[in-house]
Symmetry: C2
Subunit: 211 residues, 2 copies
């Protein structure tokens, strides 16, 4: 297994259930969550067991339970991080002023920024299959975001700044398809800054949807 970050690697063998380590330096909750999300992405959420998470973290299963209640609680938190950031971006756009065209642009930029800030969590979100209530609720929140973008695009169509030969719903889906693709290829530590990426992708998306 490739090297895992963070605290006491392999201090306890997977599944052995070592003693609780309150106060012992090790993973904070955020780092532990990040490692777990990474394992979910590499192996698939359904195929990942708490034993696998313990092995990757190099701590016991009971040490994980010190931080989180269950594997599903980790997934739920990660999905909420991603969806919360996306919803906040749309809240800001809808609360702000400007023409419909300007709000579409702000929504595209805000979505790209939220994705860049939460790439692992968004990657998980995009791969959900709806196998549990947690997944189904997250998928419904994701559909609501698509509808909010669709409403902005529809206002742009009424204004004449967004093309009207495609339904707002399908235009929102296409736009988000292009935007979401960045989680597969953009690397914040790569040659391009987040700011450059947001600028470039916004340019391509907006020209595509322009009326």
């Amino acid at each position: 297994m490739p090297g895992e970050p963070g605290g006491g690697p392999r201090a306890a063998s997977a599944g052995s259930g070592g003693p609780a380590r309150r106060g012992r330096p090790g993973y904070d909750r955020q780092t532990l969550m990040a490692v777990c999300v990474d394992v979910f992405i590499r192996h698939g959420y359904d195929a990942t067991s708490m034993g696998m998470l313990a092995k990757h973290l190099g701590i016991s299963k009971s040490a994980i339970y010190h931080h989180v209640d269950s594997k599903e609680a980790i997934l739920e938190q990660a999905l909420d991080d991603a969806l919360g950031a996306l919803e906040a971006a749309f809240d800001a756009v809808e609360a702000g002023g400007g023409s419909a065209g300007e709000r579409v642009e702000a929504a595209v930029r805000g979505t790209l920024q939220a994705l860049a800030d939460h790439m692992p969590q968004v990657t998980l979100l995009l791969r959900l299959r709806g196998n549990s209530d947690v997944e189904l609720r997250a998928m419904e929140r994701r559909r609501t975001i698509t509808r909010r973008l669709g409403a902005l695009l529809e206002a742009g169509q009424a204004e004449g700044t967004v093309r009207d030969d495609v339904t707002p719903r399908n235009l929102a889906r296409l736009t988000l398809g292009m935007i979401n693709s960045i989680v597969d290829w953009f690397r914040p530590d790569g040659p391009h800054t987040v700011q450059d990426m947001v600028h470039s992708v916004t340019g391509v998306v907006l020209r595509g949807v322009r009326g």
Copy 2:
């Protein structure tokens, strides 16, 4: 080996191995593959066992082995169907004439048509994580397709018909991100025909990348 092909749905219980039924009508290989791909999509390839496939098909595991060597062989065939169709689309574009801009348009149309024709197989392809040699080889073929689109876009940049403020590689990734999104929302039996969808999506993609 007990249990032979073909038994009609639920004729033999999963894994129990009923009597041989040569000559009795049952699944042809293509239908069996389609059901298996559907189960992979719903439950995830890694989380799907041959027992689960047998249960969904309503035949014994040994009846499945009459058609295919392994679960991985089913995946490999499905991925090859998807990748073969995409590669054929690019072969046709590269063998054909026209300006770079026309070839970009033909590649976008051809990719959309290949996706519409092989939606379940492409859905599997897009969800690969690279957990086996079969998956890694398919992912490499997918990257080659992205590079081929990148080369067409680069020729379009040289010609002045494709925007040059984004690298051809990233433009290819964004374009394919938008195109690939159709597997999540386009339904060939829905209100829009494949022809309508190809026309609309090509319009949005091309305007986005235009120079």
